[in-house]
Amino acid sequence: MNNYTPNLAERAQPSEQWIEQIRARYPVEKAIDEVFTRKLHNRLKPVEHTMDFSKLQERLQRFLKDETGQADIKAENLKRLPGGASKEQFTFDLTWQPKPGKQETQHLMIRMDPTESIVETHRLRECQVLRAMSGEVPVPQVLWIDPLGEKLGHPALIANFLEGTVQPEQPEDSEKMSGIGMYFNPELRASLSQQFVDILAKIHSIDGSTKDLSTFDIPQSNSTQANEWAIGLWERAWNEDTLSAHPVMERAVLWLKENMPEVGEPVIVHGDYRTGNFMYTDDLEINAIFDWELAYYGDYHDDLAWASLSLFGGSDEEGKPLSSSLMPQEDFLARYERASGNKVDMEKLFYFHVFSYYKIAVIAAATSVRVAYSRRTHLDAMMNFASGLGSVAISELNRMLDEATS
């Protein structure tokens, strides 16, 4: 494969000077700078991601012995889970004493960074936000973390494994990726919609200052700082990862920067709140919200836009589009206003719809293709395939920008 231009050569084998230029150019939170810079330094190592996880069992056993101080701990039945686009996921059974004198076997999961991920995120940050949410909204319980991968080989967190349904049975002619255009029947929609809204409203109401969120920078109120950091992250990811410059992406990021709204009081934004990232029980109770790795302090409209993006949502039986495959957008927004007391500003929602498509395009058209190019993920074939989603997102971006500038 070729690096056709000096920019492409730098992205593939970044020099220290180029890394410093990139770091100086894009305003991001400290933790984000840390993981992005580590990613660029790792790119200099000629390592392909290996699918062989035979050494993980032994490392896991050793890690858990150290963490618990229990010599007779036993980690068994390590298995890879399907899916998990951004992280490798495994399950295993752990026999140990969670409380003194009480031995039991628990089914647990590992969420682990591949050598390079489609979204480079911070495991400690994900762990902190999951712990902050525990008891507030349904989330998996994080038990242990290896934030830098010094013990397990790659940064990872270990959490309890929850039983439930993420994707209900789909119509026969449907061949969608999990979380995109999913179908929920009317009974499921009736049961899950209000819960989906109430949990989002709850997330946005949580006072982060009472929690340990030390890896999160807190932006100034009544300023554009939260959005400067958010755009800085995604623009930096694009410029670190893309294999091809794209005029529509430059058009989009310029528009995003020139039309950036102020954020009154920044709230904890989930960052990936949509169908595919929640699970429900047989009693139709949402029992877990997943994928907190993109959480940050920002504008609640970001989550509203992401959850109501037409690209993610399926339709009802008459073909009417549904936000997160659950309810019409106007219904979703009205319920959110009632549940949260937050006013929905349609201009801001439009802005964050544009931003949402920009983010999808960065993930699917740039970073996915980069990690597959470098053979650094557990899903190389899928990452090339996912570029199709990026092209659709770029097309939607262009349509919205035409609308915004007409």
């Binding site: 056709y4 399907p82 061949e175 410059a245 899903l379 074939a381 899928m382 395939f385 199709g388 097309s395």
Partner: protein, 188 residues
């Protein structure tokens, strides 16, 4: 050339779908094999059009960069940084001349030239805040149909991948690339 690439791909796809996949018991392996089969199907559809896709882009980028440079050369208000990018375009057009028979070049030459031109066009787009209001309006008017052309072409290229909720409304890529049996180099 025999067998044709399409035949190789089709044979591999059939083997994965009818031999390998039914014998896989691991869900992760099944999922990945399905993606490999789908990728092979996609490659079978587009492999004979990749060269002309790049060739068409080569023509379009040469045309838009020529138009942008002409616009900027005809204005007194273009700032210095933009003039520098204009010079880089002129320099690149020495390597890949606008009226060269580019269709006789190897694929990788065209792909590389296109990448350089994309980066240069992106530089102009980034420099819009430095343009006067009048110049920026003229630049945007020039770019809009070009952006639309990219949008339609890329969406059409990936429609068989199955992500597009509007796939049925997208043109087939062959209908965008060719007109009357030849590469469609009409201005967008």
């Amino acid at each position: 050339m025999s067998p044709e690439i399409e035949q190789f791909l089709s044979g591999m796809k059939k083997t994965i779908e009818e031999v390998v996949m039914p014998n896989l018991t691991d869900r992760f392996a099944q999922e990945q094999a399905g993606i490999v089969a789908a990728s092979l199907g996609f490659l079978g559809l587009i492999q004979d059009k990749a060269f002309h896709y790049e060739l068409l882009e080569n023509q379009e980028y040469k045309r838009i960069l020529t138009d942008v440079c002409e616009l900027l050369n005809n204005t007194f208000s273009a700032p210095e940084s933009i003039v520098e990018t204009t010079s880089k375009v002129t320099e690149h057009f020495v390597t890949d001349k606008v009226d060269d028979p580019t269709h006789l070049r190897p694929y990788k030459f065209i792909r590389g030239s296109n990448e350089v031109m994309k980066e240069l066009l992106c530089e102009f787009i980034q420099q819009q805040p430095e343009m006067s209001a009048e110049l920026r309006a003229a630049f945007e008017a020039l770019m809009k149909p070009f952006f639309k052309s990219i949008e339609l072409r890329e969406r059409s290229w990936v429609k068989a991948l199955g992500f597009d909720p509007e796939a049925e409304q997208q043109a087939d890529i062959a209908d965008l690339l060719y007109k009357d049996g030849f590469l469609n180099t009409d201005k967008p």
